[in-house]
């Protein structure tokens, strides 16, 4: 039986304190209702708990967390999954800027669009490989300074028919990790020194694995997603700016 919390008019400190106290007591499933703008929900929590959030959670949802699974039935604001280490955030609406900022593990699945600088400074180490999947479109600077991990951009469930699949400066400063894109981007959209590549069989396997889970989260048809080919963006060396004094 999930514990219900009515977050209306609850300050973020009180909400998080309550959440932590309940987790301490052994509660593992939560339903948060009437959430509106409360920051840092589930930040730093290491237990394997599940949170269903109704409303619009505030900045830095799940920051530094290493374990929880957060399902947002709505949109998230900026900084969701900031430096998260493990666990999962599923957003049934759209997400704001800097989603997955410096993310080091875990998964973020967004059904629709995301803002600017998503996946900035993502990193990976050994078996810790963070994954962001975006069902809609992305703003400028997707995967900026990316050092590791995986970003998958589908561009399928967007609210912005007039916008390009991804913005400008895609992968600027990228020196690790991979960005997979369903469809095409223009070369001028890419950061310096980046090029689109064809997928290998290994890439296809990886995509299928991650997208199968994504489709389960949102009840989507995997076949439909694979109806269009993907490209991948990777840095050609892990130190693309090694010989530059300034960029």
């Amino acid at each position: 039986m999930a514990t219900e919390i009515d977050a209306r008019d609850l300050h973020y400190r009180d909400l998080n304190r309550l959440l932590r106290a309940k987790i301490e007591e052994g509660e593992r499933e939560f339903i948060l209702r009437n959430v509106n703008g409360q920051r840092y929900i589930a930040a730093g929590i290491a237990e394997k708990v599940r949170l269903d959030i109704y409303g619009t959670p505030g900045l830095d949802l799940g920051a530094f967390m290493r374990g929880p699974e957060i399902i947002v039935h709505g949109n998230t604001q900026d900084g969701a999954g900031n430096t998260m280490d493990d666990g999962k955030i599923v957003v049934h609406g759209m997400a704001g800027d800097v989603v997955g900022y410096a993310m080091r593990g875990g998964k973020i699945h967004v059904y629709s669009d995301v803002g600017y600088r998503v996946g900035i400074h993502m990193k990976a180490y050994m078996d810790k490989i963070p994954v962001i999947i975006i069902g809609g479109k992305a703003g400028d600077f997707l995967g900026e300074y990316m050092a590791g991990g995986i970003i998958i951009l589908l561009g399928m469930f967007s609210r912005y028919p007039e916008r390009p699949l991804a913005g400008l400066y895609l992968g600027t400063g990228m020196h690790g990790g991979t960005i997979y894109i369903r469809g095409k981007v223009e070369e001028y959209q890419l950061g310096k020194g980046l090029k689109p590549h064809e997928l290998t069989a290994q890439d296809q396997d990886l995509l299928r694995r991650h997208l199968t889970e994504y489709c389960q989260d949102f009840n989507l048809d995997l076949q439909e997603i694979f109806r269009e080919p993907f490209i991948k963006i990777e840095p050609y060396t892990h130190r693309p700016y090694g010989k530059l004094y300034a960029y």
Partner: protein, 391 residues
């Protein structure tokens, strides 16, 4: 301030909120208060303010001067100057109430005035629309020449209310819940590079232009010197002040359509201009060349308003947040979606405007008397993305 600087760069951001009723119906002040207070954490108690349009319908033909004075003498000097230079239809203290946490506030008084011309000046200016210019000069004169006195707003049928405190405190102090307006903007301040004082709180205004801003205008020096050539003097020690004067210069005086003015403030990058079709490329190039001194550099999200509309604009790489939403005749813009949902839980549409793409919301034609419209003609493209009402 030094101890705040490093901290503020990381975790702060001022908070903005604005709302407009496109048919000109009046929105109670408590609505905007609830919205800006939802973003409490975006400020640190060193500034908050509100701008309201449609609040003085009985004196709508007069410029409403909101005057802030550090001491009685400054206020008397303003009164004396206004008695010489204007016809004063009405004057009164701006109603305030004692508010916990607001200590030693300055004096606030409002004057409803029309310019008083001396013979030859009137002759010189006969036939031209010069009342607005007259008022701009008068405001500059008060701000620069009368020690301790500042005009914090000077438009018709509108007013700005601002000071040092959290939004709830400033709203309480100025009794914002007693006003009703068809456009509201509000600000919650976290000053980073400039002092937190009463004059430095947002909105900044000139005539009926008002602006609230989250970010830093790093081109302040360039913009300020540019404006001085046209008679605007910055006295409020805060970067945002230049934007109010730039709007007046570009849109009212130079008659740039609002889309072009926004392009001057946040122009496309040269490499984007290179990719535009020839006609649009020529326009964008001309705007960048002619209005280089008006370009705003640095991170910003701004909301500005005039008697006919509300506009939201981001810097060119979206270094500050801005969310918009609509529901029926109402359009909302704020730093955070939660600030909109606090007053409109179920909007018809929510979206995040693109970097440098203005969201221009004008009242429906004929919604209010003396309505100003600055939109470009329909179908005229600028080469840069624009979201506008009416489309």
């Amino acid at each position: 301030m030094n101890h705040l600087r490093g901290l503020s760069k990381d975790i702060s951001g001022c908070g903005l909120s604005g709302v407009i009723h496109r048919k000109g119906e009046l929105i109670p002040g408590e609505i905007i208060i609830r919205s800006i207070c939802c973003q409490e954490e975006r400020g640190n108690g060193l500034g908050a303010g509100f701008a309201a349009y449609g609040i003085y319908p009985d004196l709508a033909d007069y410029y409403a001067l909101h005057v802030m004075a550090d001491h009685r003498k400054a206020l008397e000097d303003v009164e004396e100057l206004l008695a010489h230079r204007t016809y004063i239809a009405h004057e009164e203290p701006i109603p305030t109430r004692p508010t916990p946490g607001i200590e030693n506030p300055p004096l606030f008084k409002r004057f409803f005035v029309k310019p008083k011309y001396e013979g030859e000046v009137r002759d010189l200016c006969a036939g031209t629309e010069d009342e607005d210019d007259y008022m701009v000069r008068l405001v500059m004169e008060i701000n620069t020449r009368i020690e301790g006195a500042y005009v914090i707003s000077s438009g018709k049928n509108m007013g700005a209310f601002k000071g040092v405190g959290f939004p709830a405190q400033i709203a309480e102090f100025f009794r914002i819940e007693e006003y009703r307006a068809y456009i509201w903007t509000a600000h919650n301040r976290f000053p980073t590079n400039t002092p937190g004082w009463w004059g430095g709180a947002h909105p900044f205004t000139i005539l009926d232009w008002s602006i609230v801003h989250n970010g830093e205008i790093s081109s302040y020096g360039t913009n300020r010197r540019y404006l001085e050539m046209f008679g605007y003097h910055c006295t409020l020690l805060t970067d945002t002040e230049v934007v109010a004067y730039l709007l007046d210069l570009l849109i009212r005086r130079h008659r740039l359509p609002i889309e072009i003015a926004c392009m001057a403030l946040a122009p496309p990058f040269w490499e984007e201009i290179d990719r535009m079709p020839p006609e649009e490329r020529e326009l964008a190039t001309a705007v960048r060349v002619v209005y280089g001194g008006a370009m705003l550099n640095g991170p910003f999200a701004i909301l500005f308003a005039y008697n006919g509309g509300l506009v939201g604009l981001n810097d060119r790489v979206k270094l500050r947040p801005l969310v918009a939403a609509e529901k029926g005749d109402m359009v909302y813009m704020a730093s955070e979606e939660a600030a909109i949902r606090a007053i409109c839980p179920d909007p018809d549409r929510v979206w995040a405007p693109k970097a440098g793409e203005p969201v221009i919301v004008e009242l429906e034609p004929g919604a209010i008397p003396n309505q100003r419209s600055y939109l470009r003609g329909p179908g005229e493209r600028t080469g840069a993305a624009v979201c506008r009402y009416p489309g």
